[in-house]
Structures are given as structure tokens and as C-alpha cells.
Symmetry: D2
Subunit: 258 residues, 4 copies
């Protein structure tokens, strides 16, 4: 919007705060995605082939928790650096086309649209389960799925719809909407506290500094991020080590070579 | 009962089958304990101090899944071999008295009674949460807990009771009954199938061999255990490698020294 | 030997002690196998396809450490119960034939002979690496490997031989002998202490009880196993929780149902 | 230097490339630090209390591999956001003063000086081991350590010096220099390839664009980072998924709200 000149007031991108996306997205969505899938399906995750589309913070959180439950995890990722990280973190990396016939459970977390499409549904196994933890209900091409099922759709459990494609059945959790909100209770309070603290302190920042701010997107000031983390650690009883004077001088100097 | 002469018919100990306790207890209870705790409390497990009492198959399953969710895990175990395993598996090992003031969340899986008692409740943190995945509602001394709260007990969420001890509040999930049954749906079908197959095949075994059996406890015949595992693998599309003739000869011989 | 009447004195199977195989085999061999492979090859394990043949205590130790280094792990196992455990522990399970063209690094720990044979070497990738942590140098069919290379064998690093098969080259660590002894220093002292304590206490046991013992194989008395673990824990500063009188009574009774 | 006006030519900060620090620092140093410590000491890591100072990419790599070997890990970190990440990743977080008497093995990776000082050495356990994977030999205050030992220093293994402090002995690996270079072989080729590719492509970039560049520090162009990752993935046989036209349009638009 800023690039298009469509932004008429200053914005602080609170979702970009470290104490938001590193925690809420990773630990919060990671856990609550598992929670939603278990409440909806009661499947055993151990030993199951799980495909996670997207290796951003949300995807990493989901992958970590799936792996912690004994899943065999494959990551789909279009960014080469992230794909290489997933591979070296111990996960398989596949294209959508390779992953579709391999997976038992699919979770999308790309922030993009139509990650799984008609041809992928067609190649999935009978009984495959799909859930979304990314954007709205846009990551799975539901129109294509409905078209393939030709109206043979029924509720098999609360929050689980079964699409009968003739030779096989595919299951969709929470209508493809955010599975942690649709089938569980969203993020735990213990991680939303940081996200809300960021929003409150950023709103205060805009209120105090609006005369100096232009109508563009600002990152959350580093001091706010650090303050939120510091308050959280203090609440958990964790002490922080301050730098010694010698250390503070060392890190700000370039004269010590590497 | 056999030792006391109180057993009047042959018994096959199906709960001792490998394909029961290695799978149902470990992977099934491990996951469903997490599931029950999340449904009841919606707490964030990452970064939390979790105490698991008992490092049998159920305890190991719970520890593995808690660790997979980013918990800091401490194990309580009275058996020295198991305690040492827990330690070398990367977990802290404490006595009940040491663990009580350390933990944020306590899960019992010992198969014994009154693991946490009056003095332990007294030393727990404000807000501590307790759940049981072991025997009935016997692992926590609930009479002592009720006595400490002097009637100040209220439901704070479905399946969560808060005990107000004056200076602090303790939370109990599912009345101390099995948390995966009380607050979730018990084991997933994908693990109960093996337990039920064991029961069915063992019942058939007793029916076919009852004339040869004495009124004592029999282990599940090895062939039944192996057959259940083989059927499960086949259902998952996993092929097994048979030994070559040379290998079969090698393993049954003692003449190759070590 | 006992079955064949070839045993002429009582034997205590010290290698079967819990405080031997649960620790020495699992944690000791697990770590020292990694150590030997790294010293010999200096390869990066993260992201690599690693095949471990055998899911006994040694195999589990190796798998756990390989996984902890970010490897993609596949297990080969002929026992269906163990194969199913490997699968539910989060690892792929393949036959030797399936694993051969998939793996970058192969480690044998089966206690059997000729796990990888001519046809498997033929289907391996160029640059594949093989090591053994099981029995002698018998787990890889080295005669077949030499025959395939037709004399084109050279040392490429200390403890690494390269077999040139024409279109591709295969690497063998420590001549297929135990990799942790051949290319590293064997087990750390911190795990051999328990194995040696078992041997010493079992020798003492035989010396004290030889008049009562028959010429057959005895398991290590449970009290010795427990004593070794208790001494180790004490040396590490870990306190053990004794059962209360009430708990001891509970576990020895059958009248509390389950 | 740029801030001080001391920079007289353009610099591309190749160490800041994603395909350098995300891989070389994390997976390379993580593994080779373990490698160096094992070669120098042959200690068992499982069950040991390991303190890692610094939770940057190097520290994370070390923590991940230590945890993968069954260590009990504590992180020291002065940055509150990183400290909170370490905590939620499942590790304990302590100050230097708290960690000193707790640890069995200490590894520094802060990039700062004198992390462990006289008072910390004084409170360490008898037999504690120290290694450095950070800056030079500056992270441990070796002058203070030598002073405490009053000349009672001897070589106990290759690359291990024992400092006798009277009542206890402390061990130092590789004289406090980079442990993966001092006691092992540095990074594996499979991770240095990316670092070198970055350097080569960045040097080419400077050669081609030097007329347009000012005497300041440039980040590695994103296209170089992506190209290095793409080449690496291709070499590993991993295919990348390109975005569909619809997806490319979606991610560049702001009109789909969140």
C-alpha cells in the first residue's frame, strides 16, 4: 500500500516484531495447530507421513511439534534458502506434486493461495487429511475439491468433512479455515501476552510520536521488542546477564579483527 | 493372585504383549495425555517446567511428547535403572520433594498411590497444574489436597478444578482421573487396533488351548505379538526384510564367538 | 552351547545386564559410532540420508544420535515389533534393497552377517559411505565388494578405503571392523564404568555361589543391576526416592484392580 | 569502520549471507564443536550438564547437537529475545554465575570477551571442562585461570590442559582457541562449499559493479544467496517448487487483507 501511495497514515508493523512472530507464530501456532488437528480427528501422529507447506515461522513451529510427536515430516517450500534449512534440519523436502501421493496429513502455512490444487487432490491417498494454518481458507483450492467430489460431502466428525471422490475419500478439517481457531482455542494466553504487549506499546509509541511519523510502514522499535522479552523473562523468574563494561566496549569496536 | 492361589482359570496377560505396552502405552498415552491437558487448560507447553512421575512406557511416552513440545522435563523415578536411563536420555531426575517447588505442570504415571502428598502440595508454586495418566485417581492424594483447600474448590474451566490454599491456587485436571479419558478421547484408533488384535488373538489362543493350560498367568505367545506387528506394518505399506538362509544359520549358532 | 550340552561351567551373561546393554550399547556405541565416522570422514551429517541396519540397543543409540545431528534416518529391521517401533519413533523403515540406492551413509548394527551384499553395493550411489558397529567385520560382504572393485581399492583418508566400481566409488570405514574402535577410542569411561562394575560384581557372585550353580547361563542378578545403577546415580549426585510403606504395600497387592 | 570513516573501499559482508551464517555457523560449527570436544576428551555427553554461552547461530548449532547427544543444556544469553527463544526451545537459561557451579562442560560462542572469569572458575565443579567456539581465545579469561592455578598446569591428553586449583582441577580444550579447528578438522566440505560460493560470487559482484559502489559495507545481494542455495539443492537432487502465476500475483498484492 505504501508503494502504491494508498497508505494515508503511519503504520507500525506489529506482526513483524520479534516478540510477535518468533513466539506467537512459532510456539503458539505450532502447538495449537496440533491441538486443533487432534481435537478434530483424534488420529495418532506417531509414524504418520505429514506434509507441511511453508517453512516460515508458522511452518517451522508446526514441523517441530509434528516431529516431536513422532511424525515423518516433509516440507514444501519455494524459497531455496528455507528449503535448504528444512533439509539440514532433518526433514525431507518435496514439491507439491511429489508430496501429494506421499502424505497422510497435509498442513498449509504458506500465506499464499491454492497450494494444493485439483491435480494434487487427485493423486492423494484414500483417507488423507488436510488442514490449514496459514491465510484464511485460501491455501487449499476448495472449489476444485468440491468439484471433484460432485456434492458427495458429509460431516464425519465435528469439524471434519469427508469428500468422496469416487475411488477414495479425502478429509478436510475446519473447512480449510485456520485450524487452531476453527478446531481448538487459538493461541495459549502465555504467548498472546507478548503479542498484545507489542500492540499496546506500539500504539503508545504512535500516540507519542505521531507528529514525527510519515504515512509509511515502520518496524516495531527495537527497544519495545527487547522490553517485551525482558518483562516476559522476569515474569518467568529468569535473570538476564548484563554485559560487563569491558564486553560492551569490545562488541562496539572493530579493532579486534575476527 | 496366582501366588496367593486365588486364580481359578488360565490368564493371558494381554497388557504385557509387546504390541500392547510398547505402542498403546507409549505412543497412545503419550499423545493423548498431551491432548487431554491442552483441551482442559490451553496452556503453552514450550518453556514450561514439566514433572513426569514414572519412567515406565507410559511415562516415557509422555516425556517424549512433552519434550517434543519444548517443555523442560524432570522425571521422578524410584527404580535406579530407569532413573539412570531418564538422566542419560537428557532429562533431569529429582525426588518428589525436589520436583514439587520446581514444576509448573505435574503428570503422574507410576501405577502407584499418593505420589504427591500434603507436603508436596504445600511446596508447589501458585498456579501449578496436576494431571494423572496412571492408576485411577489414586496417584495424587486428593483427600490431602481437599483438606488443604478447606472447601475452597471451584471449576475454572471444563475439567479443571482450582484448589485455593490461601496464599496460592493449585489446579487439578479431570479430578485426577486418567486425563486422556477424562479430558480427551482416549487413545487413537490407530494404536488401539493393535491392543484389540492382541486381545482377540489371545482369546482365540485360550479357546483353542484351554485343555493344556493351567490356572496361572501366561505371557502372550511371541507368535501372536509378531503377527500383530506384521499385520500393522502391512497395513501401513511397509515391507519386512526376511533373513537370508545364511543369516538364519548364523544367529542360531554359538560357534562364531563375539 | 547350553542347549548343545557344550557348556561345562556356570556362566553369568553380563552383556545381558540392564546396566550394560541399556547404557554401554545405547549411549556408548551411539556416540562413539558418530565419533568414529566423523574422525574418519569429516562429513556433514545434517541433511544426509543415513541408513541404520538393526534397531536393537546399538542401532537405537546410533539412530538417536544421527537424528540429533540432523540426518534423515531410515531403519532396516527384520523383526516386525522393532520395525514398527522404528516407524512410530519417526524413522522410515525400508528393506535392504530399498535402502541401498537411497542412502548416503550406511551403518550396520544387526549382529548378523552379510547385511549388505553384492546386489546392494551395485545399487548404491556414487560416493556412498559404509561403516559397521555390529559384529566383527562380518556385516558387510567385503569379499563381494572387493570382487566388484576388481582390485581398484585405495586409501583416501586414514581409515577410509575407496572401492572403485567403474561408474562409481564406494567408501568403507575402518575396513568394516567396529567403527568406534577402529576409527575412534571406543566407549567413553563414563559408560564403561557400569559395564566393568557388572563384570566385577558378577564374577564375585560366581565366586561366592559356585557350589549352588549349574553349568548353564544365568542372568545377572537383579540386585547387582540395581546396585550398579544406584552407585552411578550417587556418583552423579542424583538422589533416589524410596517408596513409602503405603506404596510398597500397594504395588505388591492384586486387590486394587486396574 | 564505516561509521568511523576508516573504510576506504566497498565491502560485501559475506559472513552475513544467509547461505553462510545459517549453514556454516549453525550446522558446520554445531557438528564440528562436538567433534573437537569428543576427539580431545572422549567424554560421554549423554546425561551431562552442558552450558553454552551465546544463542546466536553458532550457539544454536552447538545447543542442538548437544541436545541431540542427550545432554542437559543450559544457555547463557544477554539478549532478552534470544534468551526467551532458548527457554521456549526447551533449554534452561541462567546467568554466568548461576551456570558456573551447575555445568560439567562449558562451551563459549558469544563473540565477546571474558565470558567466564575468575569468580566463575572459582565456583566450577572439580573436573569441569571448558571449550571455545567463538572469538579467538578471548572468551575465557585465561590469564585469570592461569593465575588461579599458580603454574600447576599440565597436558592430560592431546589438546587438553588440566589446571590444578588446589581443591579441584579444571580442564581446558585446545588452549581456549576455536575447538573445531584446534581439536578437529574445522567444518565439513559439505558446508564450506556454500560459504566459498558466496565469497566467489560476491568477489565477482564487486569486480563487476565496483564503479557503482561506495566505500561502505554492503549485504550480499539476495540473488547471490538464493543462487547458492539453489545450486546446493540441485546438487542434492532436490527439486524446487516454482510459484504459480496466481500465487506470484497474490503475494505481491495488499488487497487480500489478512
Amino acid at each position: 500500500m505504501a508503494a502504491d501511495g494508498a497508505l494515508s497514515f503511519p503504520v507500525v508493523a506489529v506482526n513483524e516484531a520479534l516478540t510477535k512472530h518468533l513466539f506467537d507464530n512459532r510456539y503458539g501456532t505450532g502447538q495449537s495447530t496440533i491441538d486443533g488437528i487432534l481435537r478434530a480427528t483424534n488420529i495418532l501422529i506417531a509414524g504418520r507421513n505429514v506434509v507441511v507447506a511453508g517453512y516460515g515461522w508458522v511452518g517451522r513451529g508446526i514441523v517441530s511439534r509434528m516431529s516431536g510427536h513422532g511424525a515423518h515430516v516433509t516440507v514444501i517450500e519455494i524459497d531455496p534458502v528455507r528449503a535448504l534449512e528444512a533439509l539440514m534440519d532433518g526433514y525431507q523436502v518435496m514439491t507439491v506434486g511429489q508430496a501429494a501421493p506421499w502424505g497422510d496429513l497435509f498442513v498449509t502455512a504458506t500465506g499464499n493461495v491454492n497450494v494444493f490444487r485439483r491435480e494434487h487432490f487427485a493423486s492423494m491417498k484414500d483417507g488423507a487429511i488436510m488442514a490449514n494454518s496459514g491465510h484464511f481458507d485460501a491455501e487449499l483450492d476448495l472449489d476444485a475439491l468440491r468439484a471433484l467430489a460432485e456434492g458427495h460431502v458429509r460431516d464425519v466428525r465435528e469439524n471434519v468433512q469427508e469428500f468422496d471422490l469416487g475411488g477414495k475419500k479425502l478429509n478436510l478439517i475446519a473447512e480449510g479455515r485456520l485450524v487452531n481457531l476453527g478446531a481448538a482455542e487459538g493461541h495459549p494466553a502465555a504467548v498472546m501476552d507478548m503479542s498484545f504487549a507489542n500492540q499496546a506499546l506500539s500504539a503508545e509509541y504512535v500516540a507519542l510520536h505521531h507528529t514525527e511519523l510519515e504515512p509509511r510502514v515502520y518496524v516495531v522499535p527495537e527497544a519495545i521488542d527487547a522490553e517485551v522479552a525482558r518483562l516476559k523473562l522476569a515474569a518467568l523468574g529468569i535473570e538476564l546477564e548484563p554485559m560487563t563494561a569491558e564486553q560492551a566496549a569490545y562488541v562496539s569496536s572493530w579493532q579486534h579483527g575476527t
